[in-house]
Symmetry: C2
Subunit: 253 residues, 2 copies
């Protein structure tokens, strides 16, 4: 049975300030919960009898068998899925100079949780292990973000930081800082490196002016055919996908 206190605790984690105070977040469904297992400590697990029976070895500080009705009350999903877990997280620091050795992403105020989750998932696909986010970027532990990552949070580390300082540090150390602009250079004509930082901007406003100044490599995804009337821009997650794919394709050449 799900106690009122536990229900209240889970529901409280919808809000960022509570997640931050508790250093905890909610993940749902067999796929996402299963993927995060072992990468984060599970503080509380609630699941149907069926799921519990099928997953006896799942390690959690506390487990609670619930009915579908109880799960529905606790869930943040429109269609709750058998299991919901509260995981602990730690805010680990990361030296941004890691970008000297490998490709990283920076997000400058990406605000839509779906976009952030999708970007974390594709970073995982393309072997990008670190995403640096401006403080105004959506919270990666927001339940909507966690679900959109489809478990990629197990492998991709997210760091919230001051992007102006970070990009200035990298630029000062001669590490390439890439950004996408409507007047940038065609990504297919440009040399792309195996290291450095790819900065992606806010959904409406793109990359902020202060961060733009630190971008040494201005990129552009060409539309097709050239010169015809088209959408003004691409959605930030799809643009990130095309750019990451092209970086990785060039590494095979």
């Amino acid at each position: 049975m799900l106690s009122k206190a536990k229900l209240k605790y889970i529901r409280s984690l919808e809000m960022k300030k509570n997640r931050k105070a508790e250093q905890a977040f909610v993940a749902e469904g067999p796929k996402v919960v299963g993927d995060l297992q072992g990468h984060f400590t599970c503080r509380l697990l609630i699941a149907t009898a069926e799921w519990m029976n099928e997953n006896p070895a799942f390690v959690a500080d506390e487990k609670c068998m619930v009915t579908t009705e109880e799960l529905t009350r606790a869930s943040f999903l429109q269609h709750p899925q058998e299991v919901l877990a509260v995981f602990s997280y730690k805010e680990e620091g990361c030296n941004p100079l890691v970008a000297a050795d490998e490709l990283c992403i920076a997000l400058d105020d990406v605000q839509d949780p779906g976009n952030l989750g999708t970007i974390i998932r594709l970073a995982d696909w393309f072997g990008i292990r670190h995403i640096f986010c401006s403080q105004a970027t959506a919270d990666c532990y927001n339940p909507k973000v966690v679900q959109a990552t489809m478990g990629a949070l197990a492998r991709v580390k997210i760091h919230y930081t001051d992007l102006v300082g970070l990009t200035a540090l990298l630029a000062g150390n001669g590490i390439p800082v890439y950004g996408t602009f409507l007047d940038g250079e065609d990504i297919y004509d440009k040399q792309l490196s195996a290291n450095g930082l790819i900065v992606m901007g806010n959904e409406g406003n793109g990359i902020s002016q202060a961060v733009s100044k630190q971008v040494s490599q201005r990129l552009y995804i060409p539309n097709y055919p050239k010169g015809v009337e088209t959408s003004e821009s691409l959605n930030v997650a799809t643009a990130t996908a095309i750019i990451c794919a092209e970086f990785r394709r060039k590494m095979r050449e």
Copy 2:
């Protein structure tokens, strides 16, 4: 002033059956409404005095100046934006053999409105003029889809149809039918044509079995580096973006 009848009419268009009965949909904000102008007949426009004054030439069967409070009541957005329009649409037939001459997309039960809107927007970017959707795919006139297209509905035509029949027809006529599968061929190693159909599948289940049988060209987006543990798949909109970008890149070679 916004009458109760008009408010009720606008709000009724949240539901697909009402949109279908009325052959009408809602678009919001200066950017999206502006882009759709001229491409669809505007039946009703409601806007703030400021927007009305700045856009005196906007053609609509009926215009109604409203307060911000009235706009908020009518709007489907979390942050309503100055103007909301009801546009008429026509269900136009389209001969699927258009795919003999140009690249088209088919969506096999894509269910998330954000994904559908994002795909319409990127189709526009890559000069793809026709998207064929299975009947179970999200409705392109859903307010969430319309907003996510960012105006691309002005140029990209969406056709709801039986995809099994459509893909069989194309395959029977020797027109390439592409699909993405985890056991497909690397998109970077494969020849891609300037015509044909790219089929993208449902968020959870991929391409249905019946449609899969008609796919003559099985594609795969390689992850990086090869062979490491990663996410099982990419989000459907980001996968579509990478594939369309690669088709268009190969056309430049």
